[in-house]
Symmetry: C2
Subunit: 151 residues, 2 copies
DNA sequence: TGAACCCGGACTGTAACGGTCGTATACTAA
DNA sequence: TTAGTATACGACCGTTACAGTCCGGGTTCA
């Protein structure tokens, strides 16, 4: 279906939420979960993953919580999805593990791999800040990005 | 994981296989399945779906099988994936059904919807013929395609 | 000390995916 | 007309992954 998981969605939402509040020292998982109406325990696990990957900094104890470990502009959507869902490949046979278990004539993977790279490139070009800044009612040119694809 | 299903993979492989043999009147599901070592019954179901969507023409009986219903150049990978896996959206909440069941502040969907359109555009720009023509050993510029994305 | 918070493993229910089986139907050739 | 080959289609099943919950533990601060 080519869709990313809810976990990744939640993660992006949480990072966006943090990016919009750079002045607060830390926000608890519960705070963010309540803001969006998502399960707090689930979000907590997601934030823990992001922390382990270095995208967030955590602080335990009273008034603890999570904060971005680097500027929102330097965190790409790609990093977030990668941290939560692991490496994704559009083709079922990743060719990284042990090639394709099907016959060697599975020649469609190669062109699809290019598509995969293109998608990754698009996601890499989107930062959390881009998401957070999208709060404009209307009427501004949000700088189009160009992507090239060679089959 | 952002990966397309094996069914879609199989469908693309089968169409590519047909596109490489435009002179044959029809190929049975078993022939194609054997060529790639994939389950014949499963491929048959996939080809039936593609037939129902109008991408293939079927012919029962002796020497029957499937054939492309239109030139390979005018069948896009997007159509194939859409026919097999149904409409895909990168966001979990499609906004088509009944909006987002989460709080109204789920503002990350909009930029991700752009990404979704970009991916769809990429897949639409790839034809079955592109896949079939990829049989070159090396040394030719396969015309790069450009894609624009505005967040 | 205790409340508030993070950490992380174990567990569960549901749904989709991948695949199989069996049967009915359609067509062609001998 | 009959046998064989093929599609058509629905029912079924095992596995996996996703989404979510539960609980025991460790930190920090008031």
């Amino acid at each position: 279906m080519l869709k990313l998981t809810k976990k990744a969605d939640y993660g992006l939402m949480a990072l966006k939420y943090l990016a919009e509040r750079p002045d607060t020292p830390a926000l608890s998982a519960k705070d963010i979960a309540d803001a969006y109406g998502i399960p707090a325990q689930l979000l907590a696990k997601i934030l823990q993953q992001l922390t382990k990957k270095g995208l967030l900094k955590s602080h335990a104890g009273m008034n603890g919580g999570y904060a971005l470990s680097k500027p929102a502009a330097s965190i790409s959507a790609y990093e977030v999805i990668l941290a939560i869902d692991g490496p994704f490949f559009i083709t079922s046979c990743t060719k990284g593990a042990h090639g394709c278990d099907l016959t060697p004539s599975c020649t469609i993977k190669e062109p699809l791999a290019r598509v995969n790279e293109t998608i990754a490139g698009v996601l890499k070009s989107i930062s959390i800040q881009d998401l957070a800044e999208h709060e404009h009612p209307s009427g501004q040119a949000p700088e189009p990005k160009l992507v090239t694809l060679t089959i």
